[in-house]
């Protein structure tokens, strides 16, 4: 379901020279963002709403959400916020990020989150901004995609060089504290990853 809908939309967008499908999506996004009215939303619209590549992502996202949550209609940011528990701007970032990752790797989910490469850089950028985020995955034909993804993310945490690059933003330490109620240093965190003791934290970052 998930991959099928993605492929359908990706093909539509790819073949749409004048952006016919896009205009509907853009219109909805614009209306919704304008409704929000606050400064971040306006800026976001200005910076991202009119960019074709990112709007492509939005089309996919609305479809994805509509499939995933029965009570989310296209353009329903309020419910969207409630679901992912964060402000709109973050959600769009999550979405764009997730799309990029999924779109690039949809044929081979195992290549998600390599220690090097663009998806790792994206992960680092999120950590580097210290904002709440999570990657969202659907079941693929009843098979959990999120579970192996969590395992790969745990491998990132086990890697000393990768963890060093992620650690200084304080995001992981905060997230760990929020979930387990204890402070932790980088070395101890890496040992937790090695011993498979970061399950709840991984679930908070990769959801389905």
């Amino acid at each position: 379901m998930f991959f099928h809908s993605f492929v359908d939309i990706a093909l539509k967008l790819k073949t749409s020279k004048n952006g016919g499908d896009m205009s509907f999506v853009l219109d909805n996004i614009s209306k919704t963002l304008t409704k929000l009215g606050d400064e971040p939303a306006k800026r976001l619209l200005k910076e991202t709403g009119i960019q074709r590549t990112k709007a492509k992502g939005c089309a996919y996202v609305w479809d994805l959400l509509a499939n995933r949550y029965d009570d989310i209609a296209v353009g329903s940011f309020d419910r969207f916020e409630e679901v992912v528990d964060g402000p709109t701007e973050n959600i769009l970032d999550i979405v764009f990020s997730g799309i990029n990752l999924e779109a690039k790797n949809w044929k081979e989910a195992r290549s998600f989150l390599p220690v090097t490469g663009s998806s790792f850089k994206q992960l680092k950028a999120y950590f580097g901004e210290n904002k709440l985020f999570a990657y969202y995955f659907n079941h693929n034909g009843g098979v959990s995609v999120a579970a192996p993804m969590r395992e790969y993310l745990n491998n990132v945490f086990k890697n000393n060089a990768a963890l060093k690059e992620l650690w200084d933003s304080g995001f992981l330490e905060e997230q760990y504290f929020k979930i387990y109620g204890k402070r932790i240093g980088r070395t101890a965190f890496r040992n937790k990853a090695k011993n498979g003791k970061l399950g709840s934290l991984l679930e908070s970052l990769i959801k389905e």
Partner: protein, 343 residues
């Protein structure tokens, strides 16, 4: 305002010492090394142990932790660094302030932390609560568990034995997991939320435990205490000052045109105060901004062509007239303050 001098790869910790030197630790193709940055020059040293984390003590000595949970102490001459303890992890503080007391986490039981004094490096007491150290003060708090303990237990305790000195009188039902960042100036403990999930911030008297003020505003997480004045400052979608003793807004500068290019998004933006300037970076950009708090202008905006984007949530260091900024390629960029610049 600043001129770029160095760009270092694979850096782990950056620790500015009180004497003006800066220790920079890293790893290059599995060969651990460190730099000592002094008077504008970098000297590189190879090491035989890879230090994982480091913590500055009040006497300018540094504690190190290696991958096997061994703790060492050194003063820059790493050949003579001493082994101190094993089976402990280091928990370093967030702002690189020199520690009069420090805390190590027990490897075998991560609920247990041990408090030490920097003077004799002796273990003073063990804590099973969430413990924070700011300067010479130690605080403990407990997670609320229904039926097990009352809400919001937040205490200042004796650093020598952990005994209660005073109870902080927070009567709000708040989650300490979201407000653990605090700082202290002139007897006011500023407690702020760490994430956008929480919005409450408090000013609490450090000597009496009385709540002086409370503000419910999601932007409170962006504030820091001014270095030399009793106020809180924040640079986000605008510039804002609040009175440290009352929490009230005392100044706001909103200017859409001025902040057009300065787009902090929703993340936690770290900034560094350099005299009358706030130095900061924003997500996904390779620009450094210097905001003049006197004139409310960005006096200096610099685009570094060798950087793709800086990491805004990572601590920005300014020491010995040099600025240390991390970028998303894992480099640390070092910029020298130009001499003619009036701070």
């Amino acid at each position: 305002m600043f001129t770029k001098k160095h760009r270092l790869d694979k850096v782990g910790s950056i620790i500015p010492l009180k004497d003006g030197r800066v220790f920079i630790f890293g790893e290059d193709s599995y060969n651990p090394w460190h730099y000592i940055f002094s008077n504008g020059s970098l000297n590189k040293f190879e090491k035989n142990i890879e230090w994982e984390e480091a913590l500055l003590l009040d006497n300018d000595e540094i504690l190190f932790c290696d991958d096997d949970s061994n703790i060492y102490i050194g003063s820059g001459d790493f050949v003579s660094s001493k082994f101190l303890f094993n089976n402990f992890y280091l928990i370093n503080n967030n702002d690189n302030r020199a520690q009069k007391y420090f805390m190590l986490q027990c490897k075998e039981n991560d609920s247990k932390s041990s408090i030490f004094s920097f003077k004799d490096l002796k273990q003073l007491w063990d804590s099973y609560k969430y413990t924070s150290i700011i300067d010479e003060f130690v605080y403990t708090s407990e997670e609320y568990k229904r039926g097990e303990n009352p809400k919001n237990i937040f205490n200042r305790v004796d650093p020598i034995d952990g005994s209660l000195i005073l109870k902080m009188e927070l009567d709000e039902s708040i989650d300490f997991k979201t407000i653990r960042f605090f700082d202290l100036r002139n007897d006011v403990l500023f407690i702020k939320p760490s994430t956008s999930e929480s919005t409450l911030a408090f000013g609490v008297s450090n000597s009496t435990g009385k709540v002086l003020w409370k503000v419910d505003d999601r932007n409170m997480r962006h504030f820091q205490i001014h270095h030399s004045e009793d106020k809180l400052i924040a640079l986000h979608y605008n510039y804002e000052e609040r009175d440290l003793h009352t929490g009230e807004v005392i100044f706001q500068h909103k200017d859409e045109n001025l902040f057009e290019d300065f787009y902090p998004r929703q993340g936690n933006l770290k900034f560094c105060q350099v005299g009358k300037y706030i130095i900061t970076v924003v997500p996904r950009k390779n620009k450094i901004y210097a905001y003049n708090m006197d004139t409310n202008e960005f006096d200096w905006i610099y685009t570094d062509p060798n950087v793709k984007s800086f990491l805004p949530a990572v601590r920005i260091e300014f020491c010995s007239n040099h600025l240390f900024l991390r970028d998303d390629d894992g480099h640390v960029n070092i910029y020298k303050l130009d001499e003619e610049w009036n701070l």
